[in-house]
Amino acid sequence: MSRVLVPCHVKGSVALQVGDVRTSQGRPGVLVIDVTFPSVAPFELQEITFKNYYTAFLSIRVRQYTSAHTPAKWVTCLRDYCLMPDPHSEEGAQEYVSLFKYQSPSVTFPKWLSHPVPCEQPALLREGLPDPSRVSSEVQQMWALTEMIRASHTSARIGRFDVDGCYDLNLLSYT
């Protein structure tokens, strides 16, 4: 099967940033690059090749037109794919990258990490239960405070050598 280059138009990168891009001072961490395909004929995308330039993580979302009647929807193909193992090092900073259609993670994740994909809707909560995100926020803060205290125990001792109850008069020896 031969592979054909699909003509595409790569737009300039846009920073995802809260507030006015011109006036605010921070350097945004997330940039979005739009790629459009001027040709109308449908095709099946097999491979994306590019040269990285100091991007650590990459997500790819594709807007698919399934049929004439249903509206186009966005589908996430790749989420936080790691291009640079350490963002502060050079490894992977200027590499050529090829992403294939059937890319799948080869690492096995521990069980507690295998949550449902975030874009899936969680099961509808029954009526009358408290808002889980607010409960979660409070509980997380309580957890953080406890962890902090657990970690900050002092090694200093007060020099207490007695055992509980050793000052009890009846236990003191007369000899």
Binding site: R126, S136, W143, A156
Partner: protein
């Protein structure tokens, strides 16, 4: 006509005091007028000296430094309390009559130490530690009838006051106090003092968060929460606090996963969906149980 020199204000003085302009008198004063002129000249010259002599310049400088260090949300109220406390520090009633009794001195010291400890939030760690040292020195200072050093009784009293003023219920903080208090006769070193006071303040914040959490869970009409829901939340927190064998980052990830909204929603759903009937849980009970989870992780003094 005498030219009255205007006192040159320093930048700091300008910030806190109104600049006083000396008004030059019109020409042709009478004798008595000339006298008042010379007096006014002397007063204007020594205004700055006067302020410096009575210690106002130094006091205001110290006050401003404290404000900068503490960064309170309400600076004016903060300064008001600061100056109110300064009154306590000066000799009582100008030294008239007999010197205050030992008990009154003790109460004054405690009050001052408490005030120092409350200047900065415990999360502002550098400022908080600073204030802890000052409070410790204040309590350890020797007096006429007092040996230098901090005794266990005063330390325990201070911890009780911190918790009481923080509006935490007695039953909630009692187990913590049992763990961190010192015996009356024991000498308390600074490190133990610092750890104990920090733990009390963190517990107060923990109890406040637990109170806010209970408000989310409670039925507003009945002022109680569904026991199944409250227990489920506490059990989830307890589970997240269990120390697993994994190293720190993995442990945090696991806790974060357990305490995330999706996971909590599932836990709540499961709790209510079971066949156990609904029963009420009061706020006091919820706070006590939540605090117990915190206190379990506190290392007892020894």
């Amino acid at each position: 006509m005498a030219v009255l020199p205007v006192p040159v204000p320093s930048a700091k003085m300008a910030a806190v005091e109104k600049r006083r302009q000396a008004v030059p008198p019109p020409a042709g004063f009478t004798d008595s007028g000339r006298q008042s002129v010379s007096r006014a000249a002397g007063a204007a010259e020594s205004e700055e000296d006067f302020l410096r002599q009575v210690g106002v310049t130094e006091m205001l400088r110290a006050a401003l430094l404290k404000v900068l260090e503490a960064r309170p949300e309400e600076p004016i109220a903060f300064l008001a309390h600061y100056f109110e406390n300064m009154g306590l520090r000066s000799p009582v009633n100008g030294g008239a009559g007999e010197p205050p009794g030992q008990l009154l001195l003790q109460q004054q010291r405690l009050g001052r130490a408490l005030w120092h400890l409350r200047l900065a939030h415990h999360s502002q760690r550098a400022a908080f530690n600073n204030n802890v040292s000052v409070a410790y020195e204040c309590l350890s200072a020797g007096g006429r009838r007092k040996r230098p050093g901090l005794d266990g009784r005063t330390y325990s009293e201070l911890l009780r006051r911190i918790c009481r003023d923080g509006q935490a219920p007695e039953e909630v903080v009692a187990p913590l106090l049992r763990k961190v208090q010192c015996r009356d006769h024991e000498a308390v070193p600074l490190s133990v003092f610092r750890a104990g006071t920090l733990t009390c303040f963190v517990l107060l914040e923990f109890v406040a968060r637990a109170g806010a959490l209970f408000q989310l869970l409670e039925d507003p009409a009945a002022a109680v929460a569904d026991r199944r829901v409250g227990q489920a939340v506490l059990d989830t927190l307890e589970g997240a606090l269990q120390a697993s064998d994994a190293a720190a980052p993995a442990r945090f990830l696991e806790a974060g996963s357990r305490l995330g909204p999706d996971s909590l929603a599932l836990a709540l759903d499961r709790a209510v969906g079971g066949r156990r009937p609904s029963a009420p849980m009061t706020r006091e009970e919820f706070l006590e149980r939540a605090a117990a989870l915190f206190i379990a992780k506190v290392k007892p003094v020894g």
